[in-house]
């Protein structure tokens, strides 16, 4: 079968790989019909995530058709059309039982700080991902969800990560009616978080980024205010002024480890790798939120640590809420939002690229060319 193959930072290609096999009685093999490149795949592509081995196949946002099933599976059958949430979850451990599917204790032998994720380095379990024609899906009775016949396939593939992560980012913000919410990062997740903030009763949603075409897109898609931090002397002062010198009620970090905007953070985090990426957006979130406010983090940070103003977290009494999202927990609610037309995930897709052009697709997304917001690979 054909699969994307990582060869080193900024280098990927399409190769012929052996067909995946059922290795566990709860496995399924899925023939991929759509697979997205996620913003967090770029952290792998840029060589920012430790234990990303040459030869790996990325891809944690995919839909497909069940090709074969392990003997223990009871819910899935061959031919089912499924969307596969990005996290590998057993459904039995203490964390899964409490809805923390992103923190499964039985899916990642190689690290305890993160559960298993498809195609996301050996730090996240060493699973091959869905940017391929076929993929092995462990615990296939737990994560994979049947796609309703009336759902657009493009909407379905975005329900594997972008929509639930954006939604959970807003949910973790504990937004109260009338709140001002600031979202850092106008990538697909940030745009979705800004859109979803309205579901929770926000009165004002502000998105901050430095790429004009994305800010324009966010303004239209998420009906929010959008500002370019490169046009500000100091984003924190700007946000303080914008909130009557009080601070935002909720700040959401949808940027993660490859933030721009602070030379020291950029050098120490992205160039010298002395910390787990540049935590510029998170620093701004901590300093822009009101006293007693909430900072929600879904941006991806690698191990081991980041330089942050923890003293300000303590002194301002900030609550930090963060996690990998749990699409399985959110699916009923999100299906309702999508099928009722309130949410239009496929509106984020700007590029559809054949899998054979995977190296071009990565470059397009990484360099933010051709006004790219979201790229879908079609095997």
């Amino acid at each position: 079968m054909l699969a994307m193959n990582y060869r080193g930072p900024y280098r990927v290609r399409l190769v012929e790989k052996p067909m995946p096999k059922i290795l566990h009685p709860e496995d399924a093999i899925v023939r991929v019909t759509r697979s997205c490149i996620c913003g967090s795949d770029l952290h792998l592509y840029h060589g920012m995530v430790p234990d990303t081995r040459v030869g790996s196949t990325f891809g944690h946002e995919f839909t497909g058709i069940v090709e074969s099933v392990g003997p223990w599976l009871q819910k899935l059958k061959v031919g089912d059309q499924v969307l596969v949430p990005f996290n590998v979850a057993c459904g039995k451990c203490s964390f899964c039982k409490q809805g923390l599917y992103g923190n499964c204790h039985e899916s990642n032998s190689m690290a305890t700080a993160v559960g298993g994720i498809f195609g996301y380095s050996h730090t996240a379990g060493g699973y091959d991902g869905g940017q391929a024609e076929y993929v092995r899906v462990p615990y296939a009775d737990v994560g994979p969800t049947l796609i309703p016949p009336e759902m657009d396939p493009d909407d379905a593939v975005l329900l594997t990560d972008v929509v639930p992560t954006g939604y959970q980012a807003a949910e973790m913000g504990g937004i109260k009616e009338g709140d001002t919410v600031v979202v850092f990062g106008a990538g697909p997740i940030g745009i979705m978080a800004a859109r979803c903030a309205w579901f929770f009763g926000a009165a004002r949603v502000i998105i901050i980024d430095h790429i004009d075409y994305r800010l324009e897109f966010a303004k239209n898609y998420a009906k929010c205010e959008a500002y370019n931090f490169k046009e500000m002397a100091d984003p924190v002062i700007f946000l303080k002024k914008a909130t009557d010198w009080y601070g935002a009620d909720v700040c959401i970090d949808c940027v993660g480890c490859e933030a721009e905007g602070n030379t020291l953070q950029t050098f120490s985090g992205r160039i010298a790798l002395m910390q787990a990426g540049a935590a510029t957006a998170l620093q701004w979130a901590i300093n822009s939120v009101k006293k007693g406010g909430i900072v929600s983090i879904v941006g991806v940070y690698g191990p081991p640590f980041n330089l942050l103003a923890i003293g300000n977290v303590v002194n301002k009494g900030i609550t930090i809420r963060a996690n990998q999202s749990a699409p399985k927990r959110l699916m009923p609610k999100l299906f309702d939002h999508v099928l009722s037309g309130r949410l239009d995930p496929k509106g984020l897709i700007t590029h559809r690229v054949p899998l054979k052009d995977v190296s071009d697709a990565y470059r397009l997304f990484s360099s933010k060319l051709d006004n790219c917001i979201k790229t879908v690979l079609i095997p």
Partner: protein, 160 residues
Amino acid sequence: MKSINKNYKNIPGWGLDIDPENEPTYPIKNYTGDDHNRINYERSPQQPLTIEILLSTERPGPTAVFGTSVPPSGLSGAIRRYAFKHSEDRYRHWIPLILADRINVFEGLIDDIKNGHLPNLIKERGLAVEWKHNRAAVLKKAVFAALVGAALWASCKKRK
């Protein structure tokens, strides 16, 4: 969960201020008390260990399933094995992994050449797309690289 102090509920004031509403993880976590059972849950059968996988030292053993993407091999594999002797808390775990990743890139190139495949770096890096949509940046990088190369060449020549 077992407490070391069997009579902890007799401590004056024990449980007086329990507030079930004080749950910052709601609704992300549906608190059921399962945390107190620790790892004593019903576990799926173990995936057969047919390849080498490196285990976090913060676990008692492998998870029921695991990825089989790229087993450790070569020099990078040896470095990764060293890294996995240390906990996720230690630099001694993560820095060697980053080093192994970089060495692995060269191992990949050597493997390619051994297998008679000369990697097409322009194609793999998607430079044609960059050229199509962002020609100025490509030219800028090329000029910069040429200047650095020329400076190095001049410096070497001067030393000779």
